[in-house]
Symmetry: C2
Amino acid sequence: MIRLGILGYGNLGRGVEAAVQQNPDMELCAIFTRRAPETLKPATNVKVVSVSEIENWKDKIDVLILCGGSATDLPVQTPKYAKMFNVIDSFDTHAKIPEHFANVDASVKEAGKIGIISVGWDPGMFSLNRMYANAILPEGNDYTFWGRGVSQGHSDAIRRVEGVLDAKQYTVPVEKALNAVKNCENPTLSTREKHTRECYVVLKEGADPKKVEEEIKNMPNYFSDYDTTVHFISLDELKQNHSKIPHGGFVFRTGKTGLNKENSHIIEYNLKLDSNPEFTSSVLVAYARAAYKLNKEGQTGCKTVFDIAPAYLSPKSGEELRKTML
Amino acid sequence: MIRLGILGYGNLGRGVEAAVQQNPDMELCAIFTRRAPETLKPATNVKVVSVSEIENWKDKIDVLILCGGSATDLPVQTPKYAKMFNVIDSFDTHAKIPEHFANVDASVKEAGKIGIISVGWDPGMFSLNRMYANAILPEGNDYTFWGRGVSQGHSDAIRRVEGVLDAKQYTVPVEKALNAVKNCENPTLSTREKHTRECYVVLKEGADPKKVEEEIKNMPNYFSDYDTTVHFISLDELKQNHSKIPHGGFVFRTGKTGLNKENSHIIEYNLKLDSNPEFTSSVLVAYARAAYKLNKEGQTGCKTVFDIAPAYLSPKSGEELRKTML
C-alpha cells in the first residue's frame, strides 16, 4: 500500500480524498491542516492532524500531496515539506515554475526524496501533449483553448467589484477559431478571437447594474481584451445553476511533413471535465504513485510530468501494460 | 549530431528520410538495403549500402531505425541488429508484442544497447493516451476508433480477390457511435457499430462485379463483421483520387470521479493524418532521439513508449521545456 497524506482540505484536498478510494493500492493516512483539527470534517474516516505535528509522520507517509494555492501556499510549503516527504503539488503560476522547481529541487536532494511539481491538466496533461506533439511535428503551430469552464480567478475578480454579492465566470472557446484550427487553416488568433467570457453576477441590494457591467467589461488583464457578456441573476439561480466547477479545453498541434512539406497533420487532445478539482486530484494521485515508485528505486530530485516515464503512473506491471494497452 | 541509419526503404523509410530533414540535431548517414544498392534511388543524397556490410557501420551510427514490415521482417531484424546498434521499430502485431519484446530485450542487453519497439501511433501515441487516461481515471471505459483512413491490410485482402486489378479500402468510424461516446453515454458497441468499410475497386477485364462484391463483403475477419460498401471505379480514378495514405483516429476514456461517482470526465486524443507513414516516421525519429540519449546515459534494455520519460523525445533541455511548454 502507498501511504498518502494531504496538506490542505479545500476542493483539491477533497478531490484527492475521493480519488484515493478509486485506487486500491493506496490509502489516505492523514489530512494535515493549519486549522484546529476538530473543526475539519472529512468525507471519509481519515485522521485529521494539526500541521504542527507533521514531522512525527515522516515514517508513516510515503507521499505528501500539497493541496494549497499557488499564490502563497505552495511556494513556501512544497520546498519546506520536501525536506521530510516525497511531495507533489499542482503549482500553476507558469512564470514562476523555474524558481519553484529550483527551490523544491534543493530541498528534495538534501533529503533524498522525490518532488513532482505542476501536476494537473494545465500545467500537466496539456503540457505533456504540447511537448509530445512538438517533438513529433517539429514544424507546426500550437493552439491551446480553455473551457467551457469556470475560471476561479476571474470569478474572484468580479466579486471584488463594488455592488457585487457573488459571481461565476465561464471561459468559452470561440467556435469559429476552434474550427479554423481543426480545418488546418493555421490561423493567427488574437486574445479576443480565441475566447469569450460569460459572467453570471448577483448584485447587492441597490447596486447599479449598468455601472457594475461597465466596470467588469473594462477591467484590465481580466476582461478588457475579451468579448464579455454579463448576466444578472438571483442568488438562488446562481446556487442552483452555477454551483459546479466544470472545465476543460483543447490542445492542438498542426504540422507539416514530407520533403516538400506536402502533408498536413493535426494532433488534438481535449478534456471535458464535470469537476476541475476532482480531475486535477486524480492526476495528482496518479503522479503520487510515480513519486513513490521513483523514490523506491533510489531516485531523488525535483521532476515535472516531462521527466516521468508514463508506466510509473500505473498500478500495472510493464508486462501487463504491454499486453493490455500497447 | 545524432547519426541515424535506416534499414528498408519503403513508405516508412522514405518518411524517416524526410523527417530527419526537420530535426537539425540529426543526420541520416546510410540507408541499408537487401536489394542491389545501385537500384535504390533515395530522395536525398544519402549513402545506400548493402545490408551485408552493415557490421562495418557499428561505430558510425547511433541508432538504426528498422523500417520493414511486422509480419516477417521485424521479428527477425530487430533482435538481430539490436546486437550491433541501438534499434527502434514500429512492430504492430499486438498479440506478438510480448514475444518480440523478450527477443529484443535479450539482444540489446547482451550488447549494452537500447531497443525501442512498437513506436508509431497505434501502437504508440494511442497506447500512451490509453495508458495515461487509465491511470488518471481508474473507473471508466476505453474507446478507440480508427479512420477515416486507408487500411493497407484490407486493401491487400481485396486485391487477392479473383477479378480485382487494384483496390483501396477506407476504415470509417461510425458518426453515431462517436457521438454517443462524446456525449458520455458509455455505449456498448459491437464491431459493426463502430466502423464501416468503404472499398474502391478496379476490376480486371471481364470480371463479374456482383461476384467480386459478394466475395469482398463476406470475407471473414476482414469484412463480414462490418457494413461494407463497394464502389467500382476506373484505374485512372483510383490513381487520381485514392493514391494518398491518410489515416487517423480517436482514443477516448470516459470516467467517473467523486465519492458517489457523481462527476463525469472525457479525455479525448485524436489524429488526422494526411500521410500515415510520414507521421509514423516522425514518431520513430523522435524516439530515436530518446534511444540515443538513454544509451548515452548508460541505460540498456528493450523499452516501449510506456518506459520513456517524454523529455527524452525533445531536443530541448529540461530547463527550456519547463520554461516554454509546461
